[in-house]
Symmetry: C2
Subunit: 227 residues, 2 copies
């Protein structure tokens, strides 16, 4: 078997498992978002700030992926919601099997939102469906406006693009309009939000976007049959 054939087999098998996850999320009325970005674009801080928005009664959980360390799980667990670390041990992306395993033993009926923080990598994670409703791609203003053109596969699949670190705009040469134009070149009609996970700027819009998504999933869930 050639490298390409094996890769295709792996992707097909991933697709099958992702479909199972998707069914399971639908059945339980869970909205699932898969956060993808370069290392250091601010995924974890964005998730911390987002968890802080939710009252403790909210039914939110997080899976966080890294090649090594469980630092991110430790950071995220402080907000009182269930968090599990997936340590990939060298693998450059999360796949559906890793997510399936990490969800074992969790009572999905107790959740309505699942955030998955992927490995920091703007290339490989985009090829692996995790059964999510949306890939949320984060681009920070320190990375340059050209990145959507260089990583089109990732940006073209984004249900939402978050332009993060807008607090640093005065100190870097990043043109927001050009960045948006480049995003729309590879993904016409892309939804884009500008935020700063550091200062909280733009969080109102992010919260509204998220609430709409969560509400749509919980409405679409099959009615609970009580025995």
């Amino acid at each position: 078997m050639t490298k390409v054939e094996v890769q295709q087999k792996v992707l097909n098998e991933n697709q099958r498992l992702a479909q199972g996850l998707r069914e399971s999320f639908r059945e339980h009325g869970i909205y699932c978002a898969n956060f993808i970005s370069s290392p250091g674009a601010g995924k974890t801080l964005l998730l911390e700030r987002t968890l802080a928005l939710f009252p403790p009664a909210k039914r939110v959980a997080v899976l966080t992926g890294d090649i090594q360390t469980d630092n991110d799980a430790t950071r995220l667990a402080r907000y009182g919601f269930p968090v599990r670390q997936i340590t990939t041990g060298g693998c450059c992306h999360l796949d559906a099997r890793m997510v399936e395993r990490a969800l074992e033993g969790w009572d999905l009926a107790s959740l309505d939102t699942l955030f998955i923080e992927n490995v920091g990598n703007l290339v490989c994670p985009a090829s692996y469906d995790l059964g999510e409703h949306d890939k949320i791609v984060i681009l920070s203003t320190t990375e340059g406006e050209d990145k959507p053109l260089k990583y089109p596969a990732t940006f073209s699949r984004a249900g939402l693009v978050i332009l993060n670190k807008i607090d640093l705009l005065p100190y870097v040469s990043f043109n927001l309009d050009v960045a948006k134009e480049n995003i729309r070149k590879v993904h016409p009609g892309a939804k884009i939000l500008e935020i700063s996970a550091t200062t909280g700027a733009g969080f109102k819009q992010w919260e509204q976007w998220l609430e709409q998504k969560r509400a749509a999933c919980s409405e679409a869930a099959p009615a609970l049959v009580l025995g």
Copy 2:
């Protein structure tokens, strides 16, 4: 064949080709550096500033890798040295075969330095030997001090770690000492330089480091036999 077996076969084949490149660089007295970082850490700007240091008579060439676009080659070609773009078409790293092909038709005898700018990715490029003397890993101050611990395979193989964007230190929560400590946890004795490719801070040290490396390679080269 399993995915792991195929991967091992691919890496073995890459190693064989990389060995050929290494011999060729040695034979021609060429110093070769492989620049690895996250997207947007500043590889291209660092290379632009570095090329600007060299008088036109210097025997320097650049290969620059991207998944899509030849923007970087266009930027780098302005400095008057030979530049070739390697567009990987989806592949998340450069491999030795891509470098071998990109060098076809170049007169290596006319060079003493080859810079290879890898695809922006802090994971996969580290596994692919390109026959280089040094992997130069760039970490920017906007990415967080934890990255060496999260991407140990990359940082542990670095002949040099460049901490870039030190001009942004007043505006981000990045502790240089912690970053260096983390680099040394995965790579004791790592050589580290602090620079700003934007302002030029730290370039004196970078230039000196590079000159030493280039001089060592050109001295080690077999004497030219003139026919």
